[in-house]
């Protein structure tokens, strides 16, 4: 076998590689724990501190616990492996002191006796000193008879460079927000806005409810005209309207589907949106629900119509910049 030719090299190579593997696994496990760990997102120093997790940006809450479970399981494996490796190393050291050639021989005859019967193996153990039995399995034997020797050449440095990527990203604080590159809704496909009658206030209505509400006539009738408050990302460069976007995820950001709300200023109002101050920021919008019908089919899209008055100014009251939600997705 190839490894016999440079056995001395592969021994220290083996240890270096094992230690490297352990460190990278440890780094990844710790990053998982850090991602999971809640930290104060907003309201520091007040009574109402909001806690969030970095994981919220990339995963649906139902997966958060799995990341923690995976990290803990990985930490347990690392601990067990570290103990075993430490013992291996101390045995290797004492071996080296005792009789150097003996070790190489041992590795050789290990392969022999695998093909031999068990009695042959008993023989080996006779002239082993006490600890040798363990070493036999840990260092060379067992399932690693092919692998340790084989894969030490496999474990090239580039692999560790690849593994470092997620850890580096974590320390670069990336990703730190949901999708940045989003398009506004194309309004040319929708009909015009008429007057929307006021029908009470309901600040408990969320993005997802309104999106669903657009699907059926019954729910459209129910929500039409209600004054609601939505939080989402401001997309658009227009003085009279913009899109408020929030993503819905079922598992992770890779399966995100955008939920769009069109926001329009009351056509009768003279006020203009100061869009430069809002663009791509998280905003809270207060307005009346209206459903816009597509021209070519029966689909509707949810819109909020803003009615500025003396008490509620358009900029800074009806449209207000807020920090990104601790859970930036609608679910």
């Amino acid at each position: 076998m190839a490894h016999e030719h440079h056995h001395h090299g592969s021994k220290s190579e083996y240890i270096t590689e094992q230690v490297l593997s352990l460190s990278f696994a440890l780094a990844i496990a710790l990053v998982c724990v850090f991602l999971w760990f809640p930290y104060p997102v907003s309201g520091q120093g007040t009574d109402s501190v909001v806690y969030g997790r970095k994981l919220s940006i990339i995963l649906h809450p139902k997966f958060h616990v799995w990341v923690l479970v995976g990290a803990v399981a990985l930490l347990v494996m690392i601990a067990l492996r570290a103990i075993a490796l430490w013992r291996e190393i101390s045995i290797l050291k004492s071996d080296a002191k005792c009789d150097h050639d003996h070790h190489g021989e041992n590795c050789d005859h290990h392969h022999h006796h695998l093909e031999n019967d068990k009695s042959g193996q008993e023989n080996c153990h006779h002239h082993d000193h006490g600890q040798h039995h363990d070493h036999n399995h840990d260092g060379c034997g067992h399932d690693h008879s092919h692998e340790d020797c084989g894969h030490s050449h496999d474990m090239a440095p580039w692999r560790f460079m690849v593994l470092a990527l997620p850890v580096i990203l974590y320390f670069l604080n990336l990703p730190n927000e949901v999708f940045s590159n989003v398009k506004a809704v194309d309004l040319s496909q929708f009909g015009e806005v008429g007057a929307v009658a006021e029908k009470g206030v309901d600040f408990n209505v969320g993005f997802l409810q309104l999106e669903m509400a657009a699907m059926s006539q019954e729910s459209r009738n129910h929500y039409e005209g209600k004054t609601v408050r939505l939080v989402g990302k401001y997309v658009g460069e227009d003085e009279k309207r913009f899109s408020l976007i929030r993503f819905k995820i079922n598992c992770c950001a890779a399966d995100a589907v955008p939920l769009n709300s069109v926001i329009m200023v009351d056509p009768a109002s003279m006020e203009k949106i100061n869009w430069k101050g809002y663009r791509n920021k998280w905003v809270q919008v207060t307005g009346r629900v209206h459903f816009l019908k597509r021209k070519d089919n029966d689909q509707f899209i949810t819109a909020l119509i803003l009615y500025p008055d003396a008490e509620h100014k358009l900029n800074d009251d009806l449209i207000k910049v807020v920090p990104q939600d601790s859970n930036p997705y609608a679910n």
Partner: protein, 346 residues
């Protein structure tokens, strides 16, 4: 402005990359630990005793193994590699690998939930005959089962011709004698030593597979940035062959977890159901990150045989499903809903 946009794209790229990475990671950890435990505690003699002698039955059984050992497509790879080393026939392992991530309770349930109520969907005021939860679950499960069994039969023939040269060194079945001796020896060891060995196997598998998960997730994120859902839905609206092919390429590119992909498929509201089924069957068997991970077990000849067989079958079955569904559904299928209040989907 342009540099800003480029910066946004890079941020989105890392968002998609990390989300795929951390979603799969816990399941790779768990899969690796299961692999370690199997390696240490599952006697090879048991594997030999349980598996049916007939190759066909062994394959058919391998394809439903997911019902008992549900594993997602990321976690299944280390487990399968250890089963291979324990002497489970390659064809049964392939069947488990391909069918396991679909034919398992968790994924079938999520498919049902994602499509439940879709049968009432309308388009321009008329029932559009989409598949509901039960139908889609059945179509997906059956199609995945057939695809994996047929592919495994092909793999079996290939194996008879080329033998173990199809496998990477680390996936080679160990000789019977070797294993027996090792297992006998292993039993004598203290528990801590055995756990030490489990951790060694688990960490080795974890590092090994995670490297390729990382590369796969990078590839997926890269392609994802250049493709939007709208672009796909628009293109596929008119022609079913195009729609099926597009959804199949999308499945390869998106690299979604088999538990999540049903929700994404369901979000293509107007797409014909056969194209959604193609997406749902192909995704868990073949995507960029899986390809990278397969290279840790199989040699290229085997990988490409599996891929070609899977792609051809998924395409053919989806077209057949399309013909059958579009002709039969309007005759035998009458949703009892008021068309005005309908259109409810997830």
């Amino acid at each position: 402005m342009d540099t800003n946009q480029a910066f946004d794209r890079i941020k989105d790229f890392f968002l998609i990359f990390t989300s795929i990475f951390y979603e799969a990671l816990p399941f790779i950890v768990l899969g690796s630990i299961v692999a370690g435990v199997l390696e240490e505690f599952l006697p090879q003699s048991l594997v030999a005793r349980i598996m049916p002698k007939s190759k066909f039955r062994a394959i058919a059984l391998g394809a439903v193994l997911g019902l008992i050992f549900p594993m997602c497509e990321c976690g299944i790879i280390p487990v399968m590699r250890r089963l291979l080393r324990k002497g489970l026939p390659l064809s049964s392992c392939t069947a488990y690998l391909l069918a396991g991530p679909v034919v398992n309770p968790v994924v079938l349930l999520s498919t049902f939930v994602a499509f439940d109520g879709m049968e009432n969907a309308t388009e321009s005021g008329k029932i559009s005959y989409q598949m509901g939860g039960w139908m889609m679950m059945l179509a997906r499960g059956l199609m995945a089962y057939v695809v994996s069994v047929v592919t495994s039969l092909v793999v079996e023939r290939l194996y008879q011709k080329h033998g173990n040269s199809l496998l990477k060194l680390t996936a080679l079945p160990q000789s019977k004698m070797e294993l027996e001796v090792l297992e006998e020896n292993g039993k004598k060891d203290a528990l801590l030593v055995r756990f030490g060995r489990i951790s060694q196997t688990a960490l080795h598998d974890f590092i090994d597979i995670t490297v390729f998960l990382t590369i796969g997730a990078l590839l997926a994120a890269f392609t994802r940035i250049w493709l939007t859902h709208d672009a796909i839905a628009e293109l596929s609206r008119s022609h079913i062959v195009l729609a099926v092919l597009l959804m199949m390429s999308l499945a390869v590119v998106l690299c979604l977890c088999s538990e999540a992909d049903a929700f994404v498929a369901a979000s293509f509201v107007t797409l014909r159901p056969a194209a959604k089924a193609a997406f749902l069957v192909l995704g868990p068997m073949l995507d960029l990150k899986l390809y990278m991970m397969y290279t840790r077990v199989f040699r290229p000849r085997l990988i490409w045989t599996i891929f070609i067989s899977v792609i051809i079958q998924v395409f053919i079955y989806s077209m057949l499903l399309h013909l059958a569904w579009e002709n039969l559904a309007p005759k035998y299928f009458h949703p009892k809903v008021d068309p005005v209040a309908s259109g409810l989907e997830k």
